[in-house]
Symmetry: C2
Amino acid sequence: MPVAAKTTLMSKNGFMRATVLHAPRDIRLDDVATPQLMTDTDAIVKVVAACVCGSDLWPYRGINEVKQATRIGHEFVGIVEQVGSAVASVKPGDFVIAPFTYSDNTCPLCKRGVHTSCPIGGFWGNKDRDGNMVDGGQGELVRVPLADGTLVSTYSQPDQELIPHLLCLSDVFPTGHHAAMSAGVTAGSTVAVVGDGAVGLSAVLAAKRLGAAKVVAMSRHADRQQVAREFGADEIIAERGKEGAQMVRELLDGIGADFVLECVGTKDSMNQAVQCARPGGRIGYVGVPHDVELNVPSMFRRNLGIAGGVAPVRNYLDELLPEVLSGALKPGRVFDLVLPLDKVADAYRAMDERTSIKSMLEV
Amino acid sequence: MPVAAKTTLMSKNGFMRATVLHAPRDIRLDDVATPQLMTDTDAIVKVVAACVCGSDLWPYRGINEVKQATRIGHEFVGIVEQVGSAVASVKPGDFVIAPFTYSDNTCPLCKRGVHTSCPIGGFWGNKDRDGNMVDGGQGELVRVPLADGTLVSTYSQPDQELIPHLLCLSDVFPTGHHAAMSAGVTAGSTVAVVGDGAVGLSAVLAAKRLGAAKVVAMSRHADRQQVAREFGADEIIAERGKEGAQMVRELLDGIGADFVLECVGTKDSMNQAVQCARPGGRIGYVGVPHDVELNVPSMFRRNLGIAGGVAPVRNYLDELLPEVLSGALKPGRVFDLVLPLDKVADAYRAMDERTSIKSMLEV
């Protein structure tokens, strides 16, 4: 069933509803000003679905300081409502995927696939290059800067059942994919995935998609183990740390994994990743690093390499979108909780308390 | 003029001459026991030429502790004198290159190209798996463990003028090549090389050989700048640190280098390398790390990757040797001082005082 392009009933008297983080664990759906086009390269997108990211939990938990009430969310798909006069690649009515950073897609860094370093790009919920606030993605409407460079249209209206899979393209699946691409996963290789959050699970799927012969998912939780299996994991290891790494080495030719995908971002998870890699192995890391250390002399002796970072989602969409539209790639299984937008506080709580792997919000 | 296979006059009364480091800056050519075959996989090689490595200077300078008189040197070429009964790939009279680690070339790690992690391999001048001392490479004769896996024969006797180039294959050129391979240098790319020692200069040559469009060598010394130019460097930057990195960025599309080859191994040189890389760039590191730190959050934001380590020379010889034998690849230009073996102390002093880029010893 195609998604209907609804008329905009959500903007009432210049207000719409959007998620605002007021303080740690105090998240609300507030009435905020309806966004307006600010430049001729902007678009306004009516959000169809958004979701909560593991990285949203850092400020939610107060680990990243919350200085003031702040708009939040950076994963959404929706329908173009309005475009600036210079926007050529999307038009009102188009169903679009918004990568979790906006970018011009034309500068030297975008051309090299590093859209996250686009000098005029930026993040949802932060100020743009002109000092104007950009909306968070967990709301009814979003002003999209650099719409031509940022938004990717599906061209036709997707069926409802495709929405979760398309929503995954805004961040979580390309982030898992980025771990695999940064590590350089090759066909026939062995892969260990550290982290069983939605990104880690996506990394399992990404590694199998790239042809990995054996993927070991490291997970202690039955629900996540199940998704890992569905995504193609060949082995599950519940142990962590040195013990888990020892089991990975035993499973993989006695030497460890050709590629390790680090999808957490803590000192412990990085140590675990390093211990899982065989000499000459490569670690792809996409967990936002918190207190991460690397022992360079140890890496040197073992010829380890590490690459990754904040995923340049836009760079991967031209390749991934057709596979989602055709049904060949189904990353949306990571959503195990779907709520209406006004239940956003429940969506955060469920992820905070780990009763949900990843929460989707229908708008 | 082919190298003559001399008769062994060097072994007198069971002694030969070999380099021994007695204490910091106290290096001597001593009479030591002539090596004997210890297992049926050993070979004895009569050294034709050896050389001094930048890494030899760490113990020479006392930065790495010298606990007792120790054999030293790990780069040599020579002629096979004797082989154990199980040795099949080389025979007496063969001219051979010895990589700076020995390895079996058949185990799972060697098969994956990480010969430096071969579980039964090791380093010259250290104990072997059976607890027997292995000779250093700066001497008249060397017992070579795992001869089949370690030694690479040129099949015919090389001309004298090829010796320096062949000697470079034992360590210095494949190490520069490993920096480029670990970074993943591609045709048409931009490359910055940090370090103008023999390895850094070799990395310039390796990057050009791999098709880099623009290679920036960072060097303050006229003699080394000259070699860098001869090896194909397109630009030379004498400045170091932040200032040098800023100039690299200005030269390279305003964003920095696609690939940076770190050939020093200090905190300062690694910082310089990180600053020279463009977002999404890759750093290949082969400088033995001393007090090196990596700022992981900064790497994450900029999507930097780093890979490298102790170079698995044996892995590269099948590819590189034919190019040296044909004359297409001439890495030997790094030698600017050639001395007889009994002047080994002068060879070390010249490198220590930086009056020589790299010293070759004729045996």
